[in-house]
């Protein structure tokens, strides 16, 4: 038997023993235990170290608000840091380690930080570490040295470097009513909504439904509350329209009643089921939401309140009632309200000795006195705990008379031995989701807490969330909320379950702090003390946000669930203002921390969508090195054995200009532009004219943006009177489509034009080179491809190897070239036929590098030159700008800045030192390697030109054309490349176009 396990009771499965490891020691626990309850049962009291002072810490709570007991869960090499031990369900093989300590949890050298306490008070780092004004540590150097040390001391757990192999998934859900929280109020709401026929989702963050019913010890309809809860869950399960989600934290309340939740599907298992995710990220669109999220018990601020052994009263009760674990044998109680008395009774019943109940109030009700007697405790009203004894474990508490008006009177202090102190400072409703939804909380002087306002547009509250702390009333509110959320009228009378009445007063005394000597913590994890809050006040950081930011109060992993209100109260006192005038923080998602993996789910890595051309597999089988172009994959080179990239593309481009080459151009954007107004539409969106284009011909077109700068280019083919096929660059396909759709839908809705993306309908193979026509002629049937039948920019239809093809004679390479389009499903078939036909001629397949080389030789522009800043004239495409008609961009393209001299213009460069040029190198008149300056522009694309036998480049250079024939230098300090170049026309090769016109 574990030292602290009660002989009976609790909702754990005592027949199932589970083995786990914490900090290298093997322990056992039972099915149903959390890591915290199992370790407590084993007598462990030290769980972690605090952030700043590295103070020893135990476990304070039993839930998601735990600030102290953070651990790292290990799964093989994968580390999951900063998980509250209160939220980890134990399972066989669970391995966890403590954090933020060196060399061990018990002996942490950084605990020396505690000695610097007053020196390293809130905001100390803003006032020092600035370093000397002169010398080797001037500027930011001294700070950066200090920072290194500070960073090492700060931080909690350590993240690993091993990729996480776990599966994370997302799930979309729709429902009429989402109920958040499955305590008595939530269960009642879910049941009522389900019975009225609504589609219901019930989300519970714990492993079992029922909330407080699992540990309150109350009776409902004469049965233990937990039995009532499981009966209701059983009823809910029988409804076909209910989805029950346990281990599910609803963490975000987004616009449009969209809620985000994380379901921990596999964390409680040694290995997840096959194909099941570890976490499932739910996006729930709910017509209506019932918030039954309960309340958090607040700590009190007093010296030594962070010593291991100090625990929230409700948590201690939960450990006893739900887990069958006693947090101590001799337990003292400190409270400012009635609720702790029930904890005292529960702990006494479970076998602990309640050594004293110190109540901050001068007097308490008869009901409380009765409970104190029942617990066998000495009741000390008007008393406070003014200090705690013990090292890393509580051994006693110091009590003294106390009154809210005059504070502690030290004269009659007495010491009481205790190994556990349970504390209740009142309750804060869990209003986070309502606040995320935009609700402004209201302060209740009675409850000394922020309450949600009237129900919001999409939600309604029930139970402790509303500040309704009696179970009977919570259930009643739950039923009403469930009906309302399901759109049903309220009932005049309802039969409600019978709950034994709790004669306790929910209102606490307005006391948050007991002022006495010693460090009294407000924010446990971040080591923010009451004095820190007062220091912030002294220095003027008095607004809530300043308080938070200056002291880091509430910024820890528990997000201030327990510390927020006490911190505000201390500031309010310092300011002499009521608490609500100090303000409250607006809560933002997430309610509790959420794994990055769950949110990313399948959106990255191998599961990120990619796009493949119809010939993709052929490319791979034939040695292509693939290049990712946006989501597409395209062949970069088809490298031979031992070939470098440059050798490969030079060979490919050379062979193409020598005989023929073939390239996959399926990725080009293709848009069907159809309808009686298609030609008119194209005239408006292109800078040049398309209405004069005859059927069966193609034309190169240029599009500008509204601001007059170049947007995209491509050829458009007229396939019929009302039927055009537009091509765009690969990169801009989606943007062009949206641009055209916008104008058609919003600006020119009167035009009869339909646009359809047909990029995927067609496989495109461009075959070019002196022998291209012969190769094509040898395999095409049903059409001639000679100059007469297929002139430059002509289009014909035929068949290749039995598959229908459409051929347009156009050229990007500058060679006699043809784009052969076939149905995508025939793409590989046609491609292979072309390859076969090309074999006798020595035709090669070529990739993007060779394509780029040939386009540089021809001076064609692509995305590197059309970079969103260049005008048509900058690119020497002024001839494309029709003067006969307005078009998109025509009104703005002549603004002074766009026609100013000195703009960057497209030029060609030839390397004069026979060394390679690189994209991104700059151009200068005079080289200055030590202090590069005077950039005239930059290289956009560079290659070795097999046609010219030289290293050449395209560049955008200030006053470009005027510099033709002049010498300049590349200046590339990043790659240490400097050298002379000649500035020339961008038409390097066959400027008259003899080759392509044949």
């Amino acid at each position: 038997m574990s030292p602290r396990r009660t002989p009976s009771g609790g909702r754990i499965d005592r027949l199932r023993t589970i083995r786990f490891i914490f900090d290298g020691t093997a322990y056992t626990g039972h099915q149903g235990d959390t890591l915290a309850s199992a370790l407590l049962a084993n007598g462990v009291s030290l769980f972690g170290r605090s952030f700043k002072y590295h103070r020893p810490r135990g476990v304070l709570t039993a839930g998601v608000d735990e600030p102290n007991a953070l651990v790292t869960v290990l799964r093989g090499e994968v580390r999951e840091p900063n998980i509250p031990a209160t939220m980890v369900e134990i399972h066989d093989g669970l391995t966890a380690v403590s954090q933020n300590r060196f060399p061990s949890l018990a002996y942490d050298v950084s605990a020396i930080n505690q000695l610097g306490g007053k020196f390293i008070s809130a905001g100390f780092y803003y006032k020092t570490f600035m370093g000397p004004l002169i010398g080797p540590l001037k500027g930011t150097r001294f700070w950066m040295l200090c920072e290194k040390i500070i960073r090492r001391a700060a931080g909690l757990g350590r993240a690993g470097h091993a990729p996480d192999p776990s599966r994370y998934e997302r799930m979309n859900a729709f429902c009429d009513v989402l109920v958040v929280g499955s305590g008595p109020a939530g269960l009642a709401a879910a049941l009522e909504a389900a019975q009225s026929g609504a589609r219901v989702i019930l989300a519970e963050l714990d492993p079992c439904f029922g909330g407080s019913a699992n540990w309150s010890g109350e009776k409902i309809d004469g049965e233990p509350a937990a039995t009532w809860a499981s009966d209701v869950v059983g009823e809910l399960k029988a409804h076909g329209n209910v989805r029950l989600l346990k281990r599910t934290t609803v963490w975000g309340y987004y616009d449009g009643n969209t809620l985000a939740a994380i379901e921990r599907v596999g964390d409680h298992k040694d290995a997840p089921a096959r194909g099941a995710p570890r976490h499932r990220h739910w996006t729930i669109r709910a017509k209506s939401v019932v918030l039954a999220t309960g309340a958090f018990e607040r700590p009190l601020v007093f010296p030594g309140n962070d010593r291991p052994g100090v625990m929230m009263a409700s948590a201690a009760m939960r450990y006893a009632n739900q887990y069958g674990v006693l947090p101590g044998e001799k337990i003292a109680v400190l409270a400012n309200n009635d609720s702790a008395y029930r904890a005292a009774v529960a702990l006494a019943k479970a076998g602990a000795r309640i050594v004293a109940i110190a109540d901050l109030r001068p007097d308490v009700s008869a009901a409380c006195r009765k409970l104190a007697t029942e617990a066998g405790a000495e009741l000390l009203t008007g008393h406070a705990v003014i200090g705690t004894e013990g090292g890393k474990k509580l051994s006693g508490v110091k009590l003294a008379p106390f009154s809210a008006a005059s504070g502690v009177s030290k004269g009659n202090a007495r010491d009481i031995g205790a190994d556990c102190l349970v504390v209740s400072g009142g309750w804060s409703p869990t209003i986070h989701l309502a606040s995320q939804a935009g609700a402004r909380p209201l302060w209740s002087d009675d409850l000394q807490a922020f309450l949600p306002p009237e129900a919001g547009k999409g939600w309604i509250g029930a139970g402790a969330f509303n500040g309704t702390f009696s179970t009977a009333e919570a259930i009643s509110e739950g039923f009403a909320a469930g009906r309302k959320a399901a759109g049903q009228p309220a009932l005049e009378t309802t039969t409600l379950p019978d709950v034994e009445p709790a004669p306790l007063d929910p209102n606490p005394a307005p006391v948050f702090e007991i002022k006495a000597k010693g460090k009294a913590f407000v924010d446990f994890q971040h080591d923010v003390t009451a004095d820190d809050v007062r220091l912030a006040h002294l220095e003027g950081f008095v607004s809530v946000e300043h308080l938070k930011r200056y002291t880091t109060l509430g910024m820890a992993t528990d997000q201030g669930k327990g510390s927020n209100v006490p911190g505000l109260a201390i500031m309010a006192e310092a300011l002499g203002k009521p608490i609500p005038e100090v303000g409250t923080t607006r809560f933002r998602p997430p309610y509790a921390p959420v794994s990055v993996g769950a949110l990313a789910a399948e959106r990255f890595g191998d599961l990120k969508p990619d796009r493949l051309t119809p010939m993709h597999d052929w490319h791979l089988e034939n040695g292509a090195t693939m290049y990712s172009a946006g989501l597409w994959f395209r062949p970069m080179i088809y490298g031979g054995p031992g070939e470098t990239i440059e050798q490969a593309y030079v060979r490919e481009a050379g062979a193409t200009r020598e005989t023929a080459g073939i390239v996959d151009v399926s990725t080009l954007g293709k848009i069907a532009v159809q309808g009686p107004d298609a030609a008119e539409f194209l005239d408006r969106v292109y800078s040049n004219v398309f209405s004069t284009l005859p059927v069966g011909k193609a034309r190169y077109g240029l599009m500008l943006r509204e601001d007059g700068l170049v947007f995209d280019d491509g050829t458009t083919w007229r396939l019929g009177e009302h039927d055009f096929l537009m091509t765009t660059t690969t990169a801009n396909a989606g943007k062009v489509m949206q641009h055209l759709e916008y104008f058609l839908d919003v600006v020119w809705p009167d035009l009869k034009v339909h646009l359809t993306s047909v990029t995927d309908q067609w496989a495109g193979a461009a075959i070019g080179g002196p022998r291209a026509r012969e190769i094509l002629a040898s395999c095409v049937t049903g059409t001639r491809v000679d100059n007469e039948a297929l002139p430059f920019m002509g289009i014909v239809h035929g068949e290749i190897a039995g598959a229908p093809v459409m051929i347009c004679r156009l050229s990007f390479s500058g060679e006699m070239a043809f784009e052969v389009y076939s149905g995508a499903g025939h793409g590989t078939h046609v491609w292979e036929a072309l390859i076969e036909a090309g074999k006798p001629f020595g035709m090669v397949p070529y990739g993007l590098e060779a394509l780029g080389t040939m386009r540089i030789e021809k001076g064609h522009v692509t995305g590197a030159e059309i970079d969103g800043r260049t005008s048509a004239r900058d690119l020497h495409l002024g001839w494309m700008l029709s003067k006969k008609k307005p078009f998109i961009g025509s009104a703005m393209m002549d603004r002074e800045g766009l026609s100013a001299s000195g703009r960057l213009e497209l030029v060609g460069l030839i390397s004069l030192d026979n060394r390679p040029l690189s994209g991104g190198a700059h151009i200068v008149e005079e080289v200055d390697t030590a202090n590069p300056h005077g950039s005239l522009g930059h290289i956009t694309a560079a290659c070795f030109s097999p046609a010219l036998g030289k290293y050449i480049a395209l560049a955008l250079v200030s006053g470009g054309k005027a510099r033709h024939g002049k010498r300049a230098h590349v200046s590339d300090p990043l790659r240490n490349r400097f050298g002379p170049v000649e500035i020339v026309s961008h038409h390097f090769f066959d400027p008259e176009g003899k080759r392509m016109h044949g």
């Binding site: 194909g275 069907a672 309808g675 009302h722 025939h826």
Partner: protein, 195 residues
């Protein structure tokens, strides 16, 4: 005629996969219709276009967004205002509409090669699809025969409900392989059969 090559070819593995010990949650298959055609009416001409679809395919389309119907051979559904996707088990559907959908009514766009059609059927179909699409797949919200347009990340998808627990998905061909992999991945949990 030359057969179309499926873009799924290398990743299409018939048989049972994933967690199928308790039975198969979904069945995945490629439909590979002979033709897929998009028909689009000019505003005000929608009724005429629907009548034309009826005359060619025999499918009766009711009024309203996303209306759809299917027969042994044909399927048709609306996916955007005035726009319909029609499929035919045989080739040549675009030709069948040529001349019938006149310039006054609207346009015909042959997408037989451009879209890949995938069917998911079985008791867990809605569960698996809900992982990929932010759409309510419940029968009441998505009745049999009707169609929608939606997106899984960058993958634009048109979906027709082809049965109480069966859906036909039309995706862009270039995305089809990666989408198929995603669909299999999402089906792992419930066990799936490819056929």
């Amino acid at each position: 005629m030359v057969e179309q090559l499926s873009p799924l070819e290398p990743v299409f593995r018939p048989g049972s996969h994933g967690n199928f010990v308790d039975g198969v949650g979904v069945t995945l298959s490629e439909i590979a219709p002979g033709s897929i055609v998009q028909l689009a009416a000019w505003p005000g001409e929608e009724k005429k276009l629907m009548a034309t679809i009826g005359s060619v395919t025999g499918l009766k389309l009711a009024d309203g967004a996303g209306t759809g119907a299917s027969s042994e051979r044909y399927t048709a559904f609306g996916f955007a205002p005035g726009k319909f996707l029609v499929s035919d088990a045989s080739e040549g559907l675009a030709t069948a509409f040529a001349g019938k959908v006149t310039a006054a009514i609207g346009t015909i766009t042959d997408l037989s090669h451009g879209r890949t059609a995938i069917r998911i059927g079985g008791p867990k179909s809605e569960w698996v699809l809900a992982k990929l699409f932010a759409v309510d797949f419940a029968l009441a919200a998505f009745p049999q025969g009707s169609g929608i347009s939606t997106t899984h990340h960058d993958v634009f998808t048109q979906i027709q409900r082809s049965g109480p627990d069966s859906f036909d998905l039309y995706v862009f061909r270039s995305f089809a392989r990666s989408f198929w992999k995603m669909l299999c991945h999402a089906s792992d949990e419930v066990g799936y059969e490819v056929r």
